[in-house]
Symmetry: C2
C-alpha cells in the first residue's frame, strides 16, 4: 500500500489542474469551473478531460487522464456519482490530489453510501488524497484556484485577504464569501470539504497553521472526523493565529438536518464545546457569529484584553451596548477618577462620564475626539463608538477626525451605528477609512467579544 | 387639588399645539419641531410662543401662553431646564398636556433632580399631564404630530402603519424609526417619554389598548414606574394585540449606564422577566430583537403555533436555521409519512424530505413551489424559506411564484437569504411583493419565534 501523502500543500499550490468531465455546456458545473479558473487567473496548466470533445473554450480537451503528459497536481471531478470510482481508477498514480464536487453519495442514502465507501477504499489503497465528494472544493486567492461551480454573477468572489475558511457546508462557505465580496473583505484560502471521504478539517488546519498568508481561520463544522487529531491540529494553529469556529447541528432538529446534509453524525454538542475550549478555539454562534468574526479580523488583530470602552451620543443605544458587551464576555469597567477629571475639564458637565461616556444630543465632532482619546488612555483594550447622526452639530468631518484618533493607537476601535439612509452613507465613509462598522449594538458587541477572546499573546 | 386627567387621548389627537421657546434659529430644537409639524401636515393650529419674535416662519408668534385665545391641547416646551418650571406656572389651566423635550434634569445630578421634583409637584397640584422631560416626545402618523427635534434628512420618519412604539430612550426610538423609514415599515404612534415625571408606559398602554390604529406595541424599557399598574395595563393590551418588550440595563454595566441616562433605578432584571411573563408580553433581546419584531409584525399577524417548516437549497444554511429555530423556541417537527410520499412523488429522490426540506443545488423554481405548497399542508404554523441563488436553474420568476403560494394561505412565510449583491437585489424584489426577508438564519428564526410567541388567539 503506497504511503498516504501527509503534506497536502499541492491542493493549495498546484501547478497543473485537470477538470474531469469538462463540458462546453454553460449549465454544467465543469464549465463554470473552467470559467472560474480562467477568471481568477490560475497561472498553471489547465487540462479539460472529456472524450466527447477535441477542445473546450480554446483549451485542448483530453480523452483521458492517461493522455496528459506528465503528472497532475490537482484533478477536479464533476461527473455523476456512479462514474466517479472508475474515473479515479483511470488516474493511476498520475494525480496527487482530487476534488470530487459531484453529489449523490452518503448524503442520499444506502446506494450513495456504498459508492462513497468504494472511493474511500481506493483512496486509502492508492494513497491518493481526496477533497469531497458533495462539496465546492477550493477557492484560493493566493494560488488562484477556484473550483466553486457557482457563477460569479450570482455568488461573488472576495479579493485577497488574510482570512481562511474551512467549511463542511458548501452553501455556507459560498454565502459568507458572497457577503464578504460585497463588503470588500478579502480571503486567503476557502475549502468546502463536504462529505470528507479523506481530507478534512484537521488536514487543512495542519496546512494553515504554517501558511503565512493565513492570519485567521474560520471553521464551519457539523461534525469532526477524529476528535483527538482535531484538538491537536487546532491547538497548533491557535499558538500562531486565532481560530474561530461555529458548530451547527447542536440541537435535535439541527442534528437530524446535518445527517441528511453531509451524512455526518454530529454527536453531542457538549463534547464539541469541550474540544474547542481545550484547543483554544473561539466558539461563535451561527452564521452571524462567523460573519462578524470575519469582519472584525479583516481589520484588526486580537485585543490585549476584554476591557471595553463605550462612547455614545445616545443614552439608550449606550445602555443596550453595555448589556450586549457583558453578554459577550467583555468587561465594561468604570472610568478612573483621573480620567473623569480630565474629561470633565474638557467636556460640559451634562455629559455622563461613566462607561458608556454619553456625550448626549448636544455633541460636537470635537467631543467625540476628546472622549475617545482620553477614554482610551484609561487602560481599555478595545472601544466601541456609537455615532447617532441626529445631533445637528455633528458633521461628516467627524469621520476623518475619528479615523485619525483610531490610526494613532493600536487598540481595536469599532463603530456601532444603527440607522437609515443618512447613517448608512456615513457608515460607508467609515469603512472606506478602514474602520469596521456594525449596524446593531449586538453585532458590535459580538465582534468586540471575539477580538477580546482571541486575546493577543504579545 | 384638581383631578388628574386619566384619559391622555389629547396627546394623540390634539387640535392645537403651542411650541414654547419657539425660535427662528435653524440650529434650535424648537425650530426643527415647527418644521416637522409643518412637514408631517399637522392639521390643527400651531402657536409659536416666544416674546422675542412677532412671527416665526410665517406663523404669528405669541409673547406668552396667556395671549393665545382659547385652550391648548398640547404645549411643547423646548427651553433650558432652569426656565421650565416658570413656563409651566404661566400656563395656568389653559393647557391639557405638555411635552418637555429639554434635558438637564434628574439625569445630570442633584440640581437637575431638584428642578424635576418641582415640575412633578406642579403637575400633581395642577392636574396637568406631562411627557418628559429629557425626551423626544411624540411622533404620530395618525394625528400627524412630530415633536422629534431631529432633522428629517438625518433621521428619517416612517410612514403610516400599525406598530406603536413606547420608549424610555429617545435615541433608541429615533434610530429604530430611522431604520424602519429606510425599509418602508410604517408606524402608528411613537412616544419617547424620557425621565417620565408623569406620563409613562402604563398611561400610554392604557391608551394604546383601545387604539384601533395600533395593531402591535413595541416597548423599550430601562425601568418601570409602578410594577403592578404596568402588569395590569399590559395585560389588558395583550388581550387585544401583541406587546413586545426589550428590557435594557440588565447587568451591572447596563444598570449603571441606565442610571446616568434617564436617572432610572432599573432594579433586578428577574423581576421584569416575571412581570413580562405575567402580563403575556413577548420579551425580545436588545435592539435586534425589537427591530426584527417590528419587521415581522409589519407584514404578519401572529402565527397559530410554533411548528416551523424550513425549505432550503443549501444544506448548511438549513442546518444553521434549524439550530436557530430551536434556540428561539420554535418546534422543527419532522414531516408526516404522507407528506414525504407526496414530496417524493413530485421531486427527485436526492432531495432531503426532512425538516428542512433540502432541495439541493439542482433546485428549480418549480421545486420551491412544490416543497412550500406540500410542506405547508403538513400542519405547520409558519415557514422559513431560504433561497440561495447559486443554483443556475433558479430564475427571478421564482419571486412571483413563491409570492403566489404565500398569498394563497394565511400562515406567515419568511424569506431568509444571506448574501451579496445579486442576493440583495432579489431580496428587495421579495420585499416589494410584501414578503419580509431576513438576511441571517438567526434573524429569520428570531422573527419567526416572535410571531409564534404572539400566538393567535382565534
Amino acid at each position: 500500500m503506497p504511503q498516504k501523502n501527509q503534506d497536502i500543500n499541492f491542493f493549495f499550490n498546484p501547478k497543473t489542474i485537470a477538470v474531469i468531465g469538462a463540458s462546453p455546456n454553460q449549465g454544467k458545473p465543469s464549465y463554470v469551473i473552467l470559467e472560474s479558473l480562467k477568471k481568477i487567473g490560475f497561472p498553471g496548466n489547465i487540462y479539460p478531460v472529456n472524450p466527447k470533445y477535441p477542445s473546450i473554450n480554446g483549451l485542448r480537451c483530453y480523452g483521458s487522464i492517461a493522455e496528459i503528459e506528465g503528472n497532475i497536481d490537482l484533478a477536479v471531478i464533476a461527473i455523476p456519482a456512479p462514474l466517479v470510482l472508475d474515473s479515479l481508477r483511470d488516474m493511476g498514480n498520475k494525480v496527487k490530489g482530487v476534488i470530487i464536487v459531484s453529489a449523490g453519495f452518503k448524503e442520499v442514502g444506502e446506494e450513495g453510501k456504498r459508492l462513497e465507501e468504494g472511493i474511500k477504499e481506493l483512496a486509502q489503497r492508492e494513497g491518493i488524497r481526496i477533497i469531497g465528494p458533495n462539496c465546492l472544493g477550493i477557492y484560493d486567492t493566493i494560488s488562484r484556484v477556484d473550483t466553486f461551480f457557482i457563477p460569479a454573477d450570482r455568488i461573488g468572489r472576495p479579493g485577497r485577504g488574510g482570512i481562511s475558511i474551512l467549511s463542511q457546508s458548501g452553501s455556507f462557505a459560498a454565502t459568507i464569501m458572497d457577503e464578504m465580496a460585497a463588503e470588500g473583505i478579502g480571503v486567503a484560502r476557502v475549502v468546502s470539504f463536504g462529505n470528507r471521504v479523506d481530507v478534512g478539517e484537521s488536514d487543512c488546519l495542519d496546512f494553515l497553521a504554517d501558511d503565512e498568508e493565513t492570519k485567521v481561520i474560520a471553521l464551519y463544522l457539523e461534525s469532526v472526523d477524529d476528535g483527538r487529531r482535531f484538538v491537536e491540529a487546532a491547538s497548533r494553529c491557535v499558538k500562531k493565529k486565532p481560530v474561530v469556529a461555529v458548530k451547527v447541528g447542536k440541537r435535535e432538529a439541527g442534528v437530524y438536518a446535518a445527517r441528511s446534509h453531509t451524512g455526518a453524525m454530529t454527536g453531542r454538542y457538549e463534547i464539541y464545546r469541550a474540544a474547542f475550549r481545550k484547543a483554544g478555539i473561539i466558539e461563535v454562534e451561527g452564521y452571524e457569529g462567523l460573519k462578524d468574526a470575519c469582519r472584525a479580523f479583516n481589520i484588526y488583530r486580537p485585543a490585549r484584553g476584554k476591557r471595553v470602552l463605550i462612547v455614545t451620543d445616545g443614552g439608550g443605544i449606550g445602555v443596550s451596548l453595555a448589556d450586549a458587551c457583558e453578554d459577550f464576555g467583555l468587561e465594561v469597567a468604570g472610568l478612573k477618577e483621573e480620567t473623569k477629571k480630565r474629561l470633565s475639564s474638557k467636556l460640559p458637565s451634562f455629559c455622563a462620564f461613566g462607561n458608556p461616556i454619553d456625550l448626549t444630543g448636544s455633541v460636537t465632532d470635537e467631543w467625540y475626539v476628546t472622549a475617545l482619546t482620553e477614554g482610551l488612555k484609561d487602560g481599555f483594550d478595545i472601544a466601541i463608538v456609537t455615532v447617532l447622526w441626529g445631533p445637528p452639530q455633528l458633521t461628516d468631518g467627524l469621520i476623518d477626525r475619528l479615523a485619525g484618533v483610531i490610526k494613532g493607537q493600536d487598540k481595536p476601535v469599532i463603530i456601532c451605528t444603527p440607522g437609515g439612509g443618512f447613517t448608512k452613507r456615513m457608515n460607508r465613509a467609515f469603512e472606506e477609512k478602514g474602520i469596521p462598522v456594525f449596524a446593531t449594538p449586538e453585532s458590535a458587541a459580538r465582534a468586540a467579544g471575539i477580538l477580546a477572546k482571541a486575546r493577543r499573546k504579545a
